[in-house]
Symmetry: C2
Subunit: 363 residues, 2 copies
Amino acid sequence: MLHAIVMAGGAGTRFWPASRAALPKQLLALAGTKTLLEDTIDRLDGLVPPDRTMVVTAARLLAAVRQQLPLVPASGLVGEPCKRDTAPCIGLAALLVSRHDPDATMAVMPSDHVIRPAEKFHEAITLAAEIVAASPGRLVTFGIPPTYPAESFGYIQTGEPIAPPAGTASSAKVHRVASFKEKPAASVARDYLAAGGYLWNAGIFVWKARTILDALAAHEPECLARLEAIAAAWDTSRRDDVFAQEFSAIKGTSIDYAVLEKATDVAVIEAPFSWDDLGGWSAVARQRGVDGAGNTVVGRHLGIDSTGTIVHSDDHHLVVTMGLEDMLVVHTSDATLVAARSHEEAVRKVVAELEKRGWVEYL
Amino acid sequence: MLHAIVMAGGAGTRFWPASRAALPKQLLALAGTKTLLEDTIDRLDGLVPPDRTMVVTAARLLAAVRQQLPLVPASGLVGEPCKRDTAPCIGLAALLVSRHDPDATMAVMPSDHVIRPAEKFHEAITLAAEIVAASPGRLVTFGIPPTYPAESFGYIQTGEPIAPPAGTASSAKVHRVASFKEKPAASVARDYLAAGGYLWNAGIFVWKARTILDALAAHEPECLARLEAIAAAWDTSRRDDVFAQEFSAIKGTSIDYAVLEKATDVAVIEAPFSWDDLGGWSAVARQRGVDGAGNTVVGRHLGIDSTGTIVHSDDHHLVVTMGLEDMLVVHTSDATLVAARSHEEAVRKVVAELEKRGWVEYL
């Protein structure tokens, strides 16, 4: 059976002050009226039922996640006691779903990307599930055709085409993965686009739980042993203690680095859906579009001679802008950010600076 | 005896959203830790006692004014039922002080200017009082040596020098007023500065109550008649009714236009104090100075690559600026203004636009 594993532990410091330690990006309605996490769960409707959906988040976010996802059973919400990147997260999820479904297929996905339309997403995930049904040892990834030489994504170099499974309804292209490339410098990214045959790594995966566990056994045996200890204690009163103790002892590492880059049978599906990882406020503007004056506005705004400006507030707090060009104004109840959009990448610096100053109430 | 008449009815739309209909400029601590009104009253300490100080404000501001000025007796606070410019305000004050002190000398001053130091202000007002003691029919104004060709002030053209009263301690220059000039165009203002002999009209006046009442009788008899009706009812239960009815029936006009421009015996004292009418946020920056990064900050601010920027918030709400140059950020609990300082003059437009949209809760 197909299970969905939604990774919702991200911090999202690029959206400060809208995003906070206690309210990261995936819990915000940045691209529409629903939060990115709600959108991610809604997108599964008709593909995976809520009782086969697992959301893995940080322990301190569990209450907020539960509030946003009333349909996902409490047993499907996992709160990591600390951050250990994607490999431990995915390994634990694989162990937990295997308890009741040893032949489980897992669709693993981030909770903070914008993917549209849901139908094309269903088509692609279904194709991936068909591929692993036919080739159970195969790991399936998703690649996005690059539209610019992004430095902030990993790249997948495609190898030879793989014939689609018999009877599939999807016409999406499938290739073997020739290699994974880490986030490249700008010049390298330009070379990739010029050469062709490179896709952005969307961080979405489909595989048998058993296959990824075998891979972890081969490449990260200590990690897997600790995850197995946690899974063994899962249905006991010792769960929280063992989870905290064993998980914190694991060395954090990404599934890409731990497994995918070393695996021999990896396929990549060229995504038939539109995808945006919403890496900053300009991505929000791209998703929401602009008004007649060229501004992107959430909340109550009065603009006079302002253009190219992103305003994010709420309906009660009025933001007035005058003579702004390509600026960013984010208002929250206790903190306001005003920045040149040229400094968007540096928003993360703010969080570091706040920590340095001990102004922790704004984190 | 010398009485102080402090005019505190201004609206101050240039400081929105810090200033509001219910909290105009003079009630804000724009230039220091005290409000401009508090500073104005403090400045009188040692010159005029609180029981000879009258503050004329708008009726709707009376409670706020009373809160800021615990030392001024309630009988010294006058709340105009509507706005009628300076002539009716000053005429009424002259009638009210004359009731108990028919030979009263009045020092009339705005409540929203920055004047320093108090000693030099005392010296100048004392000199003016000495002048009207020696020449009771004389109206005394104060002129500020212009430092740039301002278009936002009226100008006073000086005439022949007037010898200082015998025994005065002040060495300030005194002239006859040759003429009053309305706010000039830039080119005219430049001509004034090039020619010399022009001063900015500070809107501060010293005269006998009797003298200004005589002038109003000559030039604004209808206005004076209505003011006399109000004064006659002042100590009766009909005060509020008569005040509202008669005052609203008066045609608003400035004391400059109604009297000063027509009077023959007007002197101007060249102010020995520094003066700023605080006409906008840049004046606030001028008064407060800038920090090491070239920004003027009130409240809690974290600036990254920002300069020439004015930030006005409070100690609880954090404002972070990144990459700003010559901007203005004013945060209040329900509205935030972000503007290029080049648009400072247009802040008043915001108030007009809010009225147009019916967003009256922000006025």
